[in-house]
């Protein structure tokens, strides 16, 4: 922070307007970023932040407006033009070749060679130099598929630096990181600006903006609201500018009134893809009218637990009872029929068929039932009507049930999934990372929806890597470590440090 030079303007975007058909994604937006500054773009999902930086990176061509890089007017025809002007972009979804090593990925497209033969030694040396200079710790010879998400992100950043980037665009860089990895990233960003790099960071996590950014431009529904000096504003100022109304961070909820047991897991054992035990003797209970939160560091068996509960993965042994019936070994359809609905972790992989419209995605679990189909024929009017109702109720934007899901912003995709799962009226709702990558407005919405389910007497199992979320939303918290629940606490008045210690494997008893 505070490495910026007010006299040098690295990026200036003037009057950027971007229309997609009748949709105005960016409406006359101005953006000024000084050299050495960390500039945050803040906005709700679908506000137009990503559209704006995509214009800067040459992926979109603005309908009108000009872009200046270091004072020079540039027409960003393709990303190559942007790269040529020292712009690098790290996308939210990484663009890495999984079986390749770290170095191979970094040099791809700009390979060092000696007489046409790949010179790996020199490449590794160059990459390691960069890595040390900016404090981006990596293992140059590891394959991408074997390293953590945090390290993959460092590889992406190195990739842009290797191409000589001076202006880095980071699109929601923390969405996929664990709390520790986020701290590392903040350190890296400070290292980068120390050495004169300029950073544009897209995010909707207010805390991170406060931690890392110098300036923040707020965009709401395609329009620029303001550019503020971060030091001068509070988190709640930022939140209300972004959403256009006051936002509460605390989840308001009454004391829970737990009823009968809905989900009971006894001594569950599940193996992961590599055939290594991931869930080892896990037991838990969730009652009607309560939210059980599972806190834990990523990779402690959460994914395998969810896969087993939803019928995607076979369990080795154990028992999973829903309302007293064993559902272990049933396929996903059979488990759905036991009134278990799940908000999956990866909305694009498991949650939605991106090529399908909102309406088509809404019925994916019920398309065989009346009124959505009769005797094998789909009833489109009924499907659309139902979807239209949910789109309204859950405030999906744009409010068009025929809109293709893949074109929705992440938060709206999540709303479609939540609408679908909650409208199933399940007895047990499993929510896995339900607010991953969402802005505060949407997070508030999701949390309220979960609590509302609880208040309707449903059992809710919340699995999240965000400890704040688990503590705020849950009634009870179970801590998962190495495939087991190692401790349980009441959420009310829970001690973050105590839970953190259990998450790291330290015993508190």
């Amino acid at each position: 922070m505070n490495n910026y030079d007010f006299d040098q303007i690295a990026v200036e975007m003037k009057g950027i307007t971007q229309k997609f058909g009748s949709l105005v994604a960016n409406d006359n937006i101005d953006l000024t970023v000084h050299k050495g500054e960390v500039h945050a773009l803040l906005g709700e999902n679908g506000a137009g932040k990503t559209t704006l930086v995509n214009s800067l990176y040459g992926l979109y061509h603005p309908t009108s407006g000009d872009i200046f890089i270091n004072g020079e007017k540039v027409v960003m025809d393709t990303p190559n033009v942007a790269i040529g002007h020292g712009i690098g972009m790290v996308h939210q979804h990484f663009m890495l070749i999984k079986p390749f090593t770290v170095v191979e990925n970094i040099i791809l497209g700009k390979e060092t060679h000696k007489h046409g033969v790949l010179d790996m030694e020199r490449a590794t040396k160059e990459v390691m130099e960069l890595s040390e200079r900016y404090g981006l710790t990596i293992d140059p010879t590891a394959c991408i598929q074997d390293i953590t998400v945090g390290m993959q992100q460092r590889v992406e950043i190195l990739k842009t630096l290797y191409r000589g980037a001076d202006i880095l665009i980071l699109d929601e860089p923390t969405a996929v990181l664990t709390p520790q990895e986020i701290l590392d990233l903040i350190k890296i960003i400070n290292n980068l600006t120390d050495q004169g790099k300029t950073i544009i960071i897209i995010t909707h996590k207010l805390k991170e903006i406060k931690d890392v950014a110098d300036f923040c431009t707020i965009i709401r529904r395609g329009k620029k609201i303001d550019t503020v000096k971060v030091a001068d504003v509070s988190e709640s100022d930022l939140a209300s500018m972004m959403v256009g109304r006051e936002v509460s961070f605390k989840v308001d909820k009454e004391e829970s009134e737990p009823g009968d047991i809905v989900l009971e897991v006894n001594d569950l054992h599940v193996k992961d893809n590599r055939d290594i035990p991931a869930v080892e003797g896990l037991s838990l209970k969730v009652r009607r009218g309560e939210i059980l939160g599972i806190a834990g560091v990523d990779g402690n068996g959460q994914n395998e637990l969810v896969d087993a509960l939803t019928g995607i993965r076979k369990a080795e042994s154990g028992e999973v009872l829903v309302n007293g019936n064993n559902i272990l070994g049933l396929n996903p359809r059979g488990i759905l029929d036991h009134k278990v609905s799940t908000i999956p972790q990866d909305r694009q992989k498991r949650g939605l068929v991106l090529e399908y419209s909102i309406a088509e995605n809404i019925i994916i679990e019920n398309y065989k039932k009346a009124p959505f189909s009769r005797k094998g024929w789909l009833n489109f009017p009924a499907i659309r009507e139902y979807a239209r109702k949910l789109v309204k109720e859950f405030d999906v934007r744009p409010d068009d049930e025929n809109y293709i899901s893949g074109s929705l912003s992440g938060g709206n995709q999540q709303k479609v999934i939540i609408a679908r799962e909650i409208s199933n009226n399940p007895d047990l709702l499993i929510a896995v990372q339900p607010t991953r990558g969402l802005d505060v407005g949407a997070i508030e919405y999701v949390h309220k929806a979960l609590v509302a389910q609880r208040d309707k007497g449903k059992a809710v199992l919340l699995i999240s890597l965000e400890l704040d979320e688990v503590i705020n939303v849950s009634d009870r918290i179970g801590v998962i470590y190495e495939g087991k629940i190692v401790g349980e606490v009441k959420a009310e008045g829970a001690d973050e440090n105590e839970i953190g210690l259990m998450m790291a494997g330290g015993s508190n008893s």
Binding site: T310, N331, R333, L354, E360, E365, Y367, S373, W377, L378
Partner: protein, 367 residues
């Protein structure tokens, strides 16, 4: 958006076809033939008379059906290279059932068609099952099943008890199994008299004009309905687009793969049946693949995997095949030019970006 041609699939297809014809013309010019002459011979050979048009449709019929087969599989995320083998199995079944199971016409034709569809379905679903159960890539398994089908065909056809004496083919199917229009009547004295009086119909009856094209159109409509209006199509497409999400939504992705390959196989089997009952009337021993299945891949690609597109693309390919067969006897230009044109068209269709780029540069030059 200003230029719909540039962005729409149809626009790209039409431009690709023009480019393909252009490349064909260049090659003709290069090897010393007048392309204008060649294309006018071809055009005249397609549209010159009712008889030619009838032949064009007969040529198009089987590849429309195999095109539908490939397109259906594509739509559901599978690449059916096995249309050829499914076609062979369907044709063989039609030849055998059409000869050995005598029945009244009204029953015999549907019976033959259903048997062939079933045979093709089973053949296709083998690949589907292997993929669902063991994860065998359908591209590999269908290619191998093509060869198994070919040798299975030869094994049956060349069997002493089945083979027609003095030939390398099965016996001709019974009249009751034929879908050729008025095949018996048109040779009778009554029919001959009618034909003399009506030269238009005479022209048609000189070809084995048959109901196959109507069957193909019906199949296209059926495929369109299945894909867009039924729960089956909905689930199969969901698996094709994103099998993880489909599985999560409770769709059985394994049985979807098998159903999808079975339907695709059924369509190719039907292609074989239509060809036998409408045209060849027999199954012959094959020294090599006949290519109807592989041509179906081109048809599906040119038709943008759209059932109606497949009908049009099949007609186009059929027209080129039939019209093109006339340039060799007339002006000596090689028939292979048709394959080159088709290959070029498919190549351009596979490169939509290139066409968009060409359009953009043209625009810039104009400015």
């Amino acid at each position: 958006m200003k230029n719909p041609l540039k962005n729409s699939a149809l626009g790209i297809t039409l431009i690709s076809i023009l480019l393909g014809l252009f490349v064909g013309a260049l090659i003709l010019l290069f090897i010393g033939y007048n392309p204008i002459e060649a294309y006018s011979v071809m055009l005249n050979g397609i549209f010159g008379s009712v008889r030619y048009l009838s032949w064009t449709i007969i040529y198009a019929t089987p590849i429309i059906l195999t095109g539908l087969s490939v397109a259906f599989a594509f739509k559901t995320g599978l690449f059916n290279i096995g249309a050829e083998g499914q076609y062979i199995v369907g044709a063989l079944t039609a030849a055998l059932v059409g000869y050995y199971v005598p029945m009244p016409t009204l029953l015999h034709i549907p019976f033959v068609l259903i048997c062939s569809i079933t045979a093709g379905s089973l053949w296709g679903s083998i690949a589907g099952y292997l993929k669902a159960r063991f994860g065998v890539n359908e591209v590999i398994s269908t290619i191998m099943l093509n060869w198994i089908a070919l040798y299975l065909n030869n094994f049956f056809v060349l069997n002493e008890k089945i083979k027609r004496p003095g030939s390398e083919a099965t016996n001709k199917i019974l009249d009751s199994a034929k879908i050729i229009f008025f095949d018996v009547w048109k040779k009778s004295p009554d029919g001959q008299a009618f034909r003399k009086a009506h030269p238009f119909f005479n022209d048609i009856f000189r070809t084995p004009a048959n109901a196959g094209f109507l069957i193909a159109i019906l199949a296209a409509v059926l495929v369109l309905l299945i894909l867009n209006k039924t729960t089956l199509g909905y689930s199969l497409k969901a698996v094709g687009f994103n099998k993880d999400a489909a599985e999560f939504g409770g769709i059985n992705i394994k049985s979807s793969m098998i159903s999808s390959m079975a339907i695709a196989g059924g369509l190719s089997g039907l292609a074989g049946a239509v060809q036998v009952t409408g045209f060849t009337r027999e199954a012959s021993a094959l020294a090599a693949m006949e290519g109807y299945g592989f041509e179906g891949i081109s048809v599906a690609l040119i038709g943008a995997n759209n059932p109606i597109g497949c009908v049009l693309a099949g007609l186009f390919y059929g027209a080129l095949k039939y019209g093109g067969s006339k340039i060799q006897p007339r002006i000596g230009a090689p028939y292979e030019i048709i394959s080159i044109i088709m290959g070029t068209i498919v190549l351009f269709i596979a490169m939509p970006k290139l066409i968009r780029m060409m359009k953009i540069t043209k625009k810039k030059e104009a400015e």
